[in-house]
């Protein structure tokens, strides 16, 4: 026995092959299954692109792309129809803008407080609450905007200021609700970015006698900047793609305006209102929906790619 063992390990006597004794077809099958799962994601993207692009190409055969992108009159189901998409793009961007005005200070403020100031006990309370906020369904935000935010705006808003008085729908109502919705995105990703800043930097600044406020603003914040910006871009992308809030609280009137208290229509709201149930595949309205959806997809795609690059850049620093 021992002799055999010694023989086997001496370099000259190693005729063994190191591959598996059987072809292990099972392993290959398993590999194939997993690969198939993974390709589903690529298939999904392809399917989305095809489902959006094909009707859009047909659409641009009927409606010149210049009219679509730069026209200011949106009325595809009126007689005669008009296809200038700017009002609903501006609608989407207005709502997003007001959402950010609310969410960036609140989200960043919360993030800085949580990472620099908060006691562990406070963190234990606040973090779960932010997670709850992140889990609230969008229809709840839309309903909240309708039954609470809009009446409050109507009470507070001074008359005809900036295009008022606010009526039943307003950009601001939807914007504030969406702002509340995206606060957790900005807060948690920024907070992660700030926590990842090595504590050695903070400690060094403390040792020099700096105050917490200075450290937060001059050391931690710049160091975490790319993560913070990534979180904001992600939040923008989420706000642009939001449907229920705008559908319920911002309205269906394609109004090209920058006033915060008028009713506008967002791109997602247009899709949601028009694509209810069945629309015949060849009709103009079908193609219009998909053209708008393609534009929406491209906008969010751009934001997402940007955010991914930024996250990669800030992650690389530590890996």
């Amino acid at each position: 026995m021992e002799a055999r063992g010694l023989e086997a390990t001496s370099p000259a006597a190693l005729p063994r092959r190191l591959e598996a004794p059987s072809p292990r077809y099972g392993e290959k099958v398993i590999y194939g299954l997993f690969a198939a799962c993974a390709t589903l994601s690529v298939l999904t993207t392809t399917a989305i692109v095809i489902s959006l692009v094909v009707p859009s190409i047909q659409f641009f055969g009927d409606v010149p792309i210049g009219d679509f992108l730069f026209g200011t009159d949106w009325g595809p189901s009126f007689q005669p129809p008009s296809f200038g998409v700017l009002p609903i793009v501006v609608g989407t961007l207005s709502v997003t803008f007001w959402g950010l005005i609310f969410a960036i200070p609140i989200g960043l403020g919360s993030a800085i407080y949580l990472s620099e100031y908060a006691s562990p006990r406070l963190r234990k309370i606040v973090k779960p609450i932010l997670e709850i906020l992140a889990g609230v369904p969008t229809i709840a935000f839309g309903f909240f905007a309708l039954i609470f935010i809009t009446p409050q705006i109507q009470k507070i808003w001074p008359g005809h200021f900036l295009g008022g008085p606010p009526l039943i729908f307003s950009v601001l109502a939807g914007g504030l609700a969406i702002g509340l919705m995206i606060v957790p995105i900005i807060a948690s990703i920024s907070e992660d970015a700030m926590s990842a800043v090595p504590s050695g930097l903070r400690e060094g600044a403390y040792a020099l006698g700096a105050t917490r406020a200075k450290i937060a603003t001059k050391v931690v914040f710049p160091a975490a900047l790319s993560g913070i910006v990534a979180s904001v871009i992600l939040a923008i992308s989420r706000a642009i793609g939001e449907t229920m809030v705008v559908l319920i609280a911002v309205g269906s009137t394609p109004n090209l305006t920058f006033s915060p208290v008028q009713s506008v229509q967002a791109m997602t709201a247009f899709i949601g209102t028009t694509a209810t149930g069945d629309i015949p595949t060849g009709s103009t309205i079908y193609k219009t929906i998909f053209a708008v959806a393609l534009l929406l997809f491209l906008m969010t795609l751009l934001m997402n790619l940007l955010s991914i690059r930024l996250v990669r850049k800030y992650r690389q620093v530590y890996e």
């Binding site: 009159d73 009126f78 009526l167 309205g251 229509q265 709201a269 149930g277």
Partner: protein, 326 residues
């Protein structure tokens, strides 16, 4: 930590309870179907109805009662809109289409092309009500005046611009109306502006949520809006319904059950229809459902804010149904 655990435990029990209650609650909804007769008939199958969001609630109410006495029939009621519903109906995806207007020639052509035979049955009446803010002193408008407010070219921007209205009232006009996919929109634009789909774009589009018209007109001095009668009935204390000057008689007529039934509330008194697929209607369960519908619609309609059929209209519908079912 302990607090968290106990919250978690309580909530888990809650979720479990919800699931059990939902699954086990089937015996309760028998009692909610009232007056429909308690004998269980032998009808079974499934019926898909879609179409107008105005007629939808009526069909839902009837279907609810119907399923009380016919539990083996599955009825689905969608509200994709009159036009959207016809598109589904004319490719055979639904058995019945609810419609707040008559079928259009283009839609009829598609049905013909796909060999879908149909008939229109009037099931109720509705008063398309024009409402204004309670502070508005005007009480009656004619079709021409309405057209000057809602027309596509140069609509009036303040109440003093509208000819023949109370000159003391000069608030800015604020329009509220449904979206362009709505049958109500189609009917109103056709009756007032002469052609479906033709209307000024300068209005607050409330989409499918007519409640917003209520809120909007209520909150706006110069507000004006239109919707089905049920939305006015539910909110009569907050709004003022305008009388419409009948184009034939010249008299101002207020919307009400009587004026719609006797036809004096014109042109905004509108019939509400169902369009069944004739092939489906010839057999059960659709036949049974439609028979039940017409037998009971006049009892059910008022409870969901609709105006009943006159005896003549009911008889006509029942005769049409009889001819379909053979």
């Amino acid at each position: 930590m302990i607090l968290r655990k106990s919250i978690l435990a309580a909530s888990c029990c809650g979720v479990l309870a919800i699931g059990v209650a939902a699954c086990g609650g089937s015996s309760d909804d028998e009692s909610s179907a009232s007056g429909g007769g308690s004998d269980v008939s032998g009808l079974s199958g499934s019926i898909r109805v879609d179409g107008s969001s105005t007629v939808g609630p009526l069909t839902q109410a009837v279907a609810e009662q119907f399923s009380g006495s016919n539990p083996d029939v599955d009825v689905t009621v969608g509200q994709a809109g009159t036009g959207g519903g016809f598109e589904k109906f004319c490719v055979g995806e639904t058995a019945i289409n609810d419609a707040s207007r008559e079928i259009e020639p283009e839609e009829a052509a598609i049905c013909k092309k796909n060999n879908i035979p149909y008939e229109g049955l009037q099931v109720a009446n509705d008063a398309l009500t024009v409402v204004v803010n309670p502070n508005n002193p005007n009480t009656c408008l004619s079709v021409e005046q309405l057209a000057s407010i809602w027309g596509p070219d140069n609509p009036a921007s303040s109440w003093s611009d509208v000819e023949g209205t109370d000159s003391s009232f000069s608030a800015d006009i604020e329009r509220f109306g449904p979206g362009t996919t709505s049958g109500t929109f189609d009917y109103f634009t056709d009756a007032i502006n002469g052609e479906e789909g033709v209307q000024t774009k300068d209005y607050n589009n409330v989409g499918e949520n007519d409640n917003q018209t209520v809120t909007g007109v209520e909150g706006s001095e110069g507000g004006i809006g239109y919707f089905g009668f049920s939305y006015y009935e539910e909110n009569a204390s907050q709004l003022k319904a305008l009388e419409i000057k009948n184009p034939d008689t010249g008299k101002c007529v207020a919307p009400s059950e009587e004026t719609v039934r006797d036809g004096s509330y014109a042109p905004l008194g509108r019939p509400l229809f169902m369009y069944p697929n004739t092939d489906d209607a010839a057999k059960d369960p659709v036949k049974g459902f439609l028979t039940y519908y017409l037998d009971n619609v006049n009892d059910i309609a008022p409870s969901v804010g609709f105006i009943t059929l006159t005896d003549e209209q009911l008889k006509k519908s029942q005769d049409t149904l009889a001819s379909m079912t053979g």
